[in-house]
Amino acid sequence: MSRKEALSSFIQQIHGRPVVVKLNSGVDYRGVLACLDGYMNIALEQTEEYVNGQLKNKYGDAFIRGNNVLYISTQKRRI
């Protein structure tokens, strides 16, 4: 598998999976990844906002603008 394929297969695999999205500001968003695009704009479902590890907010759906994204990581199970 080429490196590029490895990236796109990761992106395909995580659709519909619970993920943690960390922003440059340090805020975490946990939710189910609905989709993402080439700017790394992200649509999350059942989103929970964590600031300093504390739950601060919940959103049914959330759109996150890609420029704020530090990383997307998969989550084994919702906490």
């Binding site: 989709c35 695009d37 959103y59 049914g60 959330a62 996150i64 603008r65 420029n67």
Partner: protein, 102 residues
Amino acid sequence: MADDGENVSVMTVKEPLDLIRLSLDERIYVKMRNERELRGKLHAYDQHLNMVLGDAEETITTVEIDEETYEEVYRTTKRNIPMLFVRGDGVILVSPPVRVGV
């Protein structure tokens, strides 16, 4: 494929901006940089997330440290703007209204 605006409930979100498109003419919540939040009716948007919001309410949160107790005091200031153009680069998160019955 579902047409724009038709069959919204069965329309799947194929790209993140679809989520914004489905919120047109609805009141949305926008989290901005510098601890600012906006709520307003989404009239228009583009790919940069530039947006036009009607009947917008801006909430600004500031933290002040009490000089004697060193406690963090959160203060929110609100103001209402009948029509607001938002530059997209300040946007962090957009959330559609909570849909009733979901």
